[in-house]
Subunit: 402 residues, 2 copies
């Protein structure tokens, strides 16, 4: 397969040839950047909607564009099992398969192997596992995973990592950190496509020492970008942010930083304030399908009886298609009737809420007022109670493993 | 509520003030017409997608417009139960509620009372029934049903009819015909909105004598349009068409004729050739959600393994968004993964197939070549085997009653 040459972004203020820091916040680590990929530039901070199976649930590529989505995430693990990497490669790669001509990031499957797959056996060589779909046995190695991502042709690809549960014992966690390092090294060596950016992933669970160890190790391999993995797995928020804080000092300024699996409105604001450039999470789209719609005052449950006769939009501040076209009452009715249109309209709203939030964040950084913005936003946006949140998260993790 | 005055269509060749016969086929009863409603003109023949709960499943109003849909059907029975007629009326009527500014036809609920509702008790006064959703008890009368349709504000509304199963005994069927007549009379008397067209419904099961009796009775009440109801309920196709043939001679030339619940591609062609102007059916959209996609050679099951690696569109002749954007392989993948986008993309294709079929029918009538078109189409389009079709239909009717 002919690989298109990667076109690095050249400009006067460049820090490296594919990532440009455009503006830094005066009093926080927040920053504006531009990440050049083979399928276009991603202005950062950016949120990646999750399309694990090659589709952001309910939406077309045109929907994503009109929502202001700059880059989407898909998943090697899911696509490997269905429809199979060779199928997508034969049909011209993932961009053509899903008819999305913008940038794509594929996750390596590291997280999915430990959360979705069954009877997962990890050795230094790689991972033996059974498919969560049909129980069939498979083996993945760092080299195979990089090869698959080269075949899929995503613009940003991820090294294979070992991602244990957050409450795993320290010895096992240390072993995972060491193995993740060695796998990252093998991925780096095996990766050939010059039109893709390969990111390394930092692990270390909830141990400050292991986080630092992992960050030192992975960054020593000189990847074009770094992800913080193994968080948002059911640990308390406070602990999550303290792990991010332990890790960030080790990440170079001039490379993009990606906080994996994190993407609630409040977490995006918190993450940006710590210098994170990229976020992904299925939360905004999954919540939408459950009828939980974002608004500036917090999540609104559209199924509640109070919406039955509400003539205005769910979120009067919103400029999305859903809010501009339909009443909250109609959306409530669609959810009550379990009409398929409900899930699409709610997804449109929640993703638009996120892309507008990102835009407001960018404007604030541009104007040097990000600290004020953060305080205003977090003062106004009512976050889900931590106990409720952790219970919901555990329920979701349990459902995934069934 | 102020009722907008109905704007009849005035033109030289007019036969009546709201329905214009534009062109007749030289050698069949097929005809082109224009049906003027308060929300625009419906060129006939026309197919009405079914949006029983105020939404054509998976589609937005913009989708419907771009597919060339001129008029949609919704259902008094469903909307009465959820969200309630008063809710929709308070929110400005059904057009505003579902954000569709084109013509709407509401069915009276006659068919649904006998197919969906439970413990249905029919008296001369009306119908006592239990909701299929929550078992709650309700009573409907011809007057109430007309009043509800006035509150909803559809452009074309239907008289309440009694619609027994096709294999009901003759005595009971005769009773239903007589009662449908008396109810039609009461609907006619009770209807006040001058901006709505009230259609009468002819019943009579599979008895030629009762079909004629019903047709004579209902047409004597001088409705602005006539529907043939009580067909496509599991009886053989041949019998269905013979009942249509018994009925058509009694329907005036200068009024629109509506064949209820019929809308497969082959049935639309057959119906038009008998002089039918309007069709509705959930079949094209329901089949789509089951992965059965229309093509000129007949239905294609996109779940079949043969599509896994097929790079081209499902139907190379089609100009719809789905066929223009995605491969059959991708659609196959979405169906295999039960991804919600699958249902929308397939619905777009099947409805576009129908609107293009209607367009080809209209072109053929215009050019005086409809007979040839019909023969060509029916020669090419492989119809589902009658035994399989009846088994599928019965399964569907059974599912509805569960």
């Amino acid at each position: 397969m002919p690989h298109r040459p990667f076109q690095p972004r050249i400009r006067s203020g460049k820090i490296s040839d594919y990532f440009t820091l455009v503006k830094a916040s005066p009093d926080t680590p927040a920053r504006l950047g531009e990440l050049a990929t083979s399928h276009g530039i991603v202005p950062t901070p950016a949120f990646l909607p999750v399309g694990s199976q090659g589709t952001v649930k309910t939406l077309t590529p045109e929907d994503l564009k009109s929502l202001g989505v700059a880059i989407v995430l898909s998943n090697t693990y899911h696509l490997y099992l269905r429809p199979g990497i060779d199928t997508i490669e034969r049909l011209g790669g993932l961009h053509q398969y899903m008819a999305w001509d913008g940038p794509i990031l594929t996750d390596s499957g590291g997280y999915q192997l430990f959360s979705l797959a069954r009877l997962c056996q990890v050795t230094d060589d790689g991972v033996l596992f059974r498919s969560h779909i049909d129980g069939s046995e498979h083996r993945l190695t760092p080299e195979l995973v990089v090869g698959f991502q080269e075949s899929l042709g995503a613009d940003i690809i991820m090294a294979l990592d070992e991602c244990p549960a957050h409450n795993e014992d320290l010895a096992k966690m240390r072993k995972a950190v060491e193995r993740t390092y060695r796998w990252a090294e093998r991925c780096r060596k095996h990766h050939e496509r010059s039109d893709q950016l390969l990111f390394g992933i930092i692990q270390g669970g909830i141990s400050p020492e292991l986080r630092q160890l992992s960050a030192r190790g992975i960054t020593s391999l000189d990847f074009p970008g770094y992800a913080i993995g193994g968080l948002s797995l059911g640990e308390p928020k406070e602990l999550m942010w303290s792990m991010v804080d332990e890790t960030m000092p080790f990440l170079p300024q001039d490379k993009p930083r990606y906080l994996m699996g994190v993407g609630s409105p409040e977490d995006i604001v918190e993450g940006v304030s710590r210098g994170v450039d990229l976020f992904d999470s299925a939360l905004p789209t999954r919540l939408a399908r459950n009828g939980a719609l974002f608004a500036m005052q917090g999540r609104q449950n559209i199924r509640k009886a109070v919406y039955k006769n509400k003539g205005g939009p769910v979120d009067p501040d919103c400029d999305c298609y859903t809010c501009g076209t339909f009443s909250a009452a109609y959306l409530h009715h669609l959810f009550k009737c379990e009409e398929l249109l409900a899930y699409r309209l709610a997804t449109i709203h929640n993703l638009r809420f996120i892309t507008r939030l990102i835009q407001r964040i960018k404007d604030a950084i541009q104007q040097g007022t990000f600290s004020d913005f953060k305080n205003d936003f977090l003062g106004q946006y009512q976050v889900t109670d931590e106990e409720v949140r952790l219970a919901q998260k555990q329920k979701w993790l349990d459902v995934q493993q069934q």
